[in-house]
Amino acid sequence: MTHDDVVEWMARFAAEMTENRAYLSRLDGDIGDGDHGTNMDRGMKKVMEKLDGAGGDDIGATLKTVGMALVSSVGGAAGPLYGTFFMQMGQASAGRSELDLAGLVDAVDAGITGVQKRGKAEPGDKTMVDALLPALEALRQAAEEGADTADGLARAAAAGREGMEATIPLVARKGRASYLGERSAGHQDPGATSSHL
């Protein structure tokens, strides 16, 4: 994975957020306060501003920029969480101009660890963590099996989707949705959804 791949990945993520803005907010409306899509879209637009013409080939530096842009523009719960995720990923890939699957695994691992430290969410709490962790596991699997990056990412995405869908029956224990208690079950978690995308 090269620096350009990372930037392109961000561009795709940003596009996804714009496209699914209303959808994510609706999901958040069901069990939260209906702003997740708006928040993420605002944030990723800010990210693209910052990246646009930033250049360089330090993946770590770029991911840190992404994280900081998110922290200072998203707000809500998702801002610090996504921000931390990318900042920690950047930390773990500082100075690297290319990442193989193993390197990617380490970076994502660091990112998720950061998210969990910040948000104290365990698997099964019906949060973005439930989409991120399976994706990480799939990535690690792929790396051990020596799969190539493209294949690894594909498997991670698939696992993330499963994790996301698996949040539907869960009862939220973190975030705004937890106020609903049992009533949060049966709804797909918006944060998990945005993570998968």
Binding site: N39, S72, G75, A77, P80, G119, K174, Y179, G181, R183
Partner: protein
């Protein structure tokens, strides 16, 4: 959606410009990052107090910036908590060398953003203490939730801690006082109608013409139960009853009774609710020593009310009575 706005994307900026234009004699407004700070900040030797949260709850928090209350307020987008850079800059702007208190309402987003801000401020050698308010008895407080939401008590804590800070109490003392106010106060709200955020463009929930939501959150978070509309007396029984039994408040207690409007509630109705609350508490042997009636922590145009009770002692009463001079709360000589 019917609103007096120019565009959903500019509401926060337009509002802040309006506040700056109307109240330049009291506060300064920063736009990037967004925060409202009292004109005379930083006050040397005084603990600075910073609060913040999503917009749409006006006059909270910006309306409480001024002598005897907040030094700065950080407004997020509507119903979305502000970002760490806002709190960091506000903290720097109000740091008079005695440290800065962050008063944070207990919502995951607010807590995490303030946490990050505090970490950054400490990195710049500013002493920061954070107190999280969580007074909403409508939410079950358990390991399985993000905990109770911070609502009405936040306004009372900002007033009382502001008075203590003006007395040049230490950061430790003001923070402890804030925890005590939070521990002695409880709140619960209800809604007759939902509200619509400019970004969403449609009501955040729906209520039938004969229904009301008991235990509503200030972002329209669903409450405890949905029931048929009842008399003001019955509504007060539901809210005050739950509140009194929760702390619990006991016969002989002296309290500050705060009847709050959600934004679209006529003052007439708030006084009718206050009258019922007065009778209800009298019946339970609880004496209202101080009161606050009005729309002080709102939820856009939502119709409904919330009740907050704070158990008073001599010190809290004295600090409540102390002079305050902000846009929205004002009393006592300067």
């Amino acid at each position: 959606m019917k609103k007096l706005i120019n565009s959903p994307d500019t509401v926060l900026r337009d509002e802040l410009e309006g506040i700056a234009a109307a109240h330049g004699d009291r506060v300064r407004v920063s736009y990037e990052p967004a925060y409202i700070v009292r004109n005379d900040a930083p006050v040397q030797g005084k603990v600075g107090i910073v609060s913040g949260g999503g917009s749409g709850h006006e006059p909270m928090h910006g309306g409480y910036v001024g002598m005897g209350m907040l030094d700065a307020a950080c407004p997020g987008e509507v119903f979305t908590s502000p970002t760490p850079d806002q709190m960091l800059e506000a903290t720097k702007a109000v740091n008079g060398g005695a440290g800065v208190l962050h008063i944070v309402k207990n919502y995951t987003g607010d807590v995490m953003n303030f946490e990050m801000a505090a970490e950054l401020a400490v990195g710049e050698d500013i002493e920061v203490a954070a107190v999280v308010t969580d007074d909403d008895v409508a939410v079950q407080d358990s390991l399985y939730t993000a905990g109770r939401r911070g609502v009405g008590v936040t306004v009372l804590a900002e007033k009382i801690c502001g008075a203590a800070a003006e007395e040049r109490r230490s950061l430790q003392e003001v923070a402890d006082l804030c925890r005590r106010v939070n521990a002695e106060g409880r709140s619960m709200g209800m809604a007759l109608t939902p509200c619509t955020t400019p970004a969403a463009g449609e009501p955040n929930f729906t209520l039938a013409d004969d229904e009301m939501e008991i235990g509503i959150g200030i972002h329209g978070e669903p409450g405890r139960e949905r029931v048929k509309v009842e008399s003001a007396a019955r509504v007060v029984e539901r809210l005050a009853g739950t509140i009194v039994d929760d702390l619990p408040f006991a016969e002989g207690d002296e309290v500050l009774a705060f009847v709050n409007g959600m934004g679209g509630t006529p003052l007439m109705e708030l006084y009718i609710v206050y009258n019922e609350l007065h009778k209800y508490l009298e019946g339970r042997g609880i004496r209202i020593a101080r009161n606050l009636v009005g729309s002080y922590i709102t939820s856009l145009e939502m119709a409904g009310c919330s009740i907050t009770l704070l158990r008073l002692d001599a010190e809290l009463t004295r600090l409540w009575d102390a002079p305050v001079d902000t846009i929205a709360l004002r009393w006592g000589g300067p």
